[in-house]
């Protein structure tokens, strides 16, 4: 079965100090809770947002946001 590589955003909650830069750069996938910490969409990043996701990861001052690779079987009919 073919595998597709998807990428998912994950935040290391220990490193995160709630700067909120990620949510500004990627509001489609990241919002901020009432204490300033990010709520990250757990679904794979859609290809159209790939560049913005990478920018958000690079911009995090705490290096807490990561893009993780996951292999998933391609949906077969």
């Amino acid at each position: 079965m073919a595998q597709i590589t998807t990428e998912t955003l994950r935040v290391n909650p220990i490193d995160c100090t709630g700067h909120g830069v990620c949510a500004e750069l990627l509001p489609e996938l990241i919002s901020v809770d009432e204490w300033g910490y990010p709520i990250v969409d757990p679904r794979p990043v859609p290809p159209t947002l790939d560049r913005e996701a990478r920018r958000a990861v690079a911009a995090c001052p705490a290096l807490a946001l990561k893009l993780m690779r996951t292999e998933a079987p391609a949906r077969s009919r």
């Binding site: 290391n12 909650p13 220990i14 490193d15 995160c16 809770d33 204490w35 300033g36 910490y37």
Partner: protein, 446 residues
Amino acid sequence: MTTTVSESAPGGAARQAAGLPRLLSAIPEDLRGHLARYGATPYRGHGVQTGVLIGDIEASGLTGRGGAAFPVYRKMAVVARARAGRKVVVANGSESEPASRKDELLLRLAPNLVLDGLQLAAEAVGATEAHLYLHYGPTPEILRALAERASRGLDGLNVTITQAPPRFLAGQETALVNRLNGGPALPTFQPPRVSERGLGGAPTLVQNVETLAHLALIARYGPRWFRAAGTDAEPGSMLTTVYQPDGGGSGGSSPPSQQSKCRVVEAEIGAPLRTLLSSGAETQAWLVGGYHGTWLPMPQATGLTLANDTLKRFEASVGAGVLVALPADRCGLTEAARVTGYLAAESAGQCGPCLNGLPRIAAGLAELAGPGHRKQTRADVERWAGLVTGRGACNHPDGTVRFVRSALTVFAPEISLHARGQCSATNRKPFLPLPDGMPTSEDDWT
């Protein structure tokens, strides 16, 4: 500690047929007694035979008895196939759950079973190092067992004993590794899992002491023997710590002589909970799975069994086997609020959502348990509960929320009573056991 081992637990004939008790004998045994009863430690030998034990463990269906119920063979396989010069096995006896006593009793009555399991697991994964992580540190029973084994040359690896700090999270896998590395017992973010990179970066197998005791018996009697008890999906037996209304129950932070009376019972998985816990008029609710567990309503839950299969209907699981029948004369809401305050204080304070959410949830619950509360509080608690779930580095917020949400459901009538300044309880003595004091300095985590 006033715990008793129960050989005459309800359902005696069924227990005998299932070959219970397996782990607990009535009296503590020295090494000679242990070897006479169980035979020699069945090392498989290195080389070709390594890995055979893992196959037996897989066939047996043994899952972790520390609370997470993770299939044991999977963790072993990951460590076994890692290519590393250093590999570590840790027997986790930290028993950080305040209401749990089973590991303490097991280590007192059958330390050799645990130590057998530790050495057998070490051999199977090719470990170069063995550790014991204990709540009370090196006890006389453990030291004697180790000395006797050393004089007979029984053990392949020397065992290093480390005392766990008395923190709720001290037994969490990554916190355990951090403590053994010399730092505080604080969790770290995963990945990587400790079975891939743990102590000093080496693949580390962490297993609860009860799990290792079962492993030691499976190595002797085989997977089919293990499956003779329990259910198909969840085979075997497990140790439970049971709190009953008749136990006198004066818990809370009272001196040891007045600690909540509980019994440690080895039960078959799948046994009806009503054979372990009272369900009559003297009981108002059950708590299954300890302080990260789930409150269950009476009488709806009376038909449930000690198996995750049936418990999951109520979003509950057996956890590390803490079972509580809350007496009808107590205030369940107050008990839940006390425990939640403890859970909040035990947050590592490393992750924003947990640090900010748990104290607020605890304060909200304390308000609900008091006389009258603000209209907004119930909704606030629910909102905070939603905000902390899944957003910590460990599952402390998730477990706490599970405990809290089930309490709010089961004790909903009590909340209404308290809102009017009333309370149904006639006994104000705390029932659920909690340690004294809150951690205040970094040293409290080492």
